[in-house]
């Protein structure tokens, strides 16, 4: 049987990906340019007995999904820059309470209200450093409608597997463009569910590290009763200020992600084998970069593209290895140098990094990148 094919908007694909992954709860608040995610979920979730709630504000939306996740549901919210700033409070809560959840953040111009309908890639640092305190961060930056679907499924898998919030951040162009999408059959993409406790309710502790860095999570409303708090907690979930334990706990929470980068980090290498100039790009900008690479190759310039799919954890190893091979990096991005700074950090001076920055609400076009390739080759 032929696969189901559709002409879909990015945000619609994110919602469909969430449903494929088994999402049964959405808590949201309207904000441009992410609202279509909420709209689709409000239509589709009740059809499968799931729940959609439009909360009173962005913080409430984030709170509602954490509450629902603790009952065992796979949960989603969607927002954009100003909403992400508000949600940061409880993204930190989800990190420390180790509650799986997925946040779609469509990147628009900022700071503040900025340019609500203009594309941007300037929230990637917020994804890692937005909430206070040390915490794990996973952020995916898809570049097409198909990939937004598939990466949303992966975002749920990572959230469930590592008991942590995962952000999926399409820029506004990826979120609002329409493309052909081929729906995977059920079972075709891997779908991961959180690990349920294997011990009896009497023995259960919600942060029992004898099961490894990711302790099994029970659900409210079952035979398991437990306590959840935003305070530093012991294995049993109750507040503690015991210095040695808190130190270990904080390190474990970060290690859940930083210790599993090979499982989490995905990227695409295009024409990089013999490349002298490597473009490092993500989201819609990587599509212009690919075009520019093709044009450069036609003109005899050895250019290649390293496309970031997982922005956090950052593909440090891969960029460091590239730095030893290429003459120069070019980092086009719709912000004033967020990815550029990371590439510089990883390159450690072995190759110069040339940024192309645009924050005027216009995409970076292939010509702009090609020009830079010729300049630095």
């Amino acid at each position: 049987m032929a696969k189901k094919v559709a002409f879909l908007q990015g945000n619609e694909a994110a919602a469909q990906g969430a449903l494929y992954a088994g999402c049964t709860f959405f808590g949201g608040y309207p904000i441009t340019p992410s609202t279509e995610v909420a709209e689709v979920m409000s239509v589709e979730l009740p059809k499968i007995g799931g729940k959609f709630i439009q909360m009173e504000d962005e913080i409430g939306a984030m709170a509602s999904i954490i509450g629902a996740s603790l009952t065992g549901a796979k949960v989603l919210t969607a927002t954009s820059g100003p909403g992400l700033s508000l949600k940061q409070e409880l993204i930190g809560y989800a990190c420390i309470a180790e509650t799986p959840c997925v946040i779609v953040n469509v990147m628009r111009g900022g700071p503040s209200t900025g340019m609500p309908t203009g594309p941007s890639q300037s929230d990637v640092m917020s994804a890692k450093w937005g909430t206070h305190g040390d915490h794990p961060a996973i952020c995916l930056t898809p570049a097409s409608v198909q990939e937004l679907f598939e990466e949303t499924v992966r975002a749920f898998n990572l959230a469930e597997k590592y008991r942590t919030p995962v952000m999926i951040m399409p820029d506004e162009i990826v979120a609002h463009m329409r493309e052909r999408i081929v729906f995977p059959e059920p079972g075709e993409l891997e779908v991961i569910n959180r690990t349920a406790p294997s011990v009896s309710p009497a023995e259960y502790k919600p942060y029992d590290t004898s099961f490894g860095d990711v302790p099994p999570l029970a659900a409210f409303g079952t035979d398991y009763r437990f306590h959840v708090t935003g305070l530093n907690k012991g294995q049993d979930g109750f507040p503690t200020t015991k210095a040695a334990w808190v130190q270990d706990e904080e390190e474990r929470q970060v290690r859940k992600v930083e210790g599993n980068v090979d499982d989490i980090v995905q990227f695409e290498e295009y024409e990089l084998a013999d490349a002298e100039v490597a473009i490092v790009a993500f989201g819609s900008t990587s599509r212009s970069a690919r075009f520019a690479v093709n044009e450069a190759r036609k003109q005899g310039i050895k250019a290649g593209l390293f496309r970031i799919k997982t922005f956090w954890p950052f593909p440090e190893k891969q960029i460091a290895a590239l730095a030893g091979k290429v003459k120069a990096f070019i980092t086009p991005e719709m912000n004033l140098g967020m990815c550029t700074g990371e590439v510089k950090r990883c390159a450690e001076g072995k190759a110069p990094v040339h940024g192309i920055f645009r924050v005027d609400g216009e995409p970076i076009n292939p010509g702009q990148i090609l020009e830079k390739i010729k300049e630095v080759k």
Binding site: K51, G60, S64, Y224, R225, H227
Partner: protein
Amino acid sequence: MSFDYDKYIRPGKLPHIWCPGCGHGIVMKGLIRAIDTLGLQKNNTAIVSGIGCASRLPGYMDFCTLHTAHGRAAAFATGVKMAKPEMNVILVGGDGDGTAIGGNHFIHACRRNIDMTYIIMNNNIYGMTGGQFSPCTPTGAKASTTVYGNPDPAFDVAKLAIGAGATFVARGTAYHATQIDKLIAEAIQHKGFSVVEILDDCPTTYGRRNKFKSVIEMMNRLKDVAVPVKAAEKMTAEQLEGKILTGVLYKEERPNYTDEYAKVIERAKK
């Protein structure tokens, strides 16, 4: 035989953090008696709180307990209730947590009439942070941030809840300990969003700044200002001056949120 509170308390979690003379423990005991009266199942009951002294209550209780962020209890609880409507969901917290930083979540939980019970321990102050004025601190009162007297008018929590759409609103006091469990039990039984405000005391950060010589004096104030709604009907305006009504202040039957959403699911499946 005396009532066995230990049945509902988590072993090893006491003593609590509350100061001598604080009324929060009286409220917790009232809540436990109400739960016992109604026979609520521990596995099927979530107790959710925000931040503050009162919000430490869930940690002591042997239920599904969720100590959330400052002001956010109602929003977290809404997620729990929506996802599992068959669960009993009880919220607890203080006046600052519920009516200042959590004000928006509070009024919208009232508006939705989602079937949960919210117990607000109103001690007129931010106790945990050392006694700053809250939206429930009386005008003129002293707090660590109003040493010249509080210029702010105070919220009437019950009126706020009624105005926002809560369908059961009651008020008790920490002095009238034996009434607390009855009010809470009736609130939990009510189908819809129910609010129980308990006038409470904070001798440590409010009493000592406002010329209360002892906890007994603070408790006596609660006794003196409280007038049951039934008794108030027979009193004149002059007699009611400075008094606070207690008992069930408001009750109405209105469709509750999770039942309404179940209808949404039915319509969507057609």
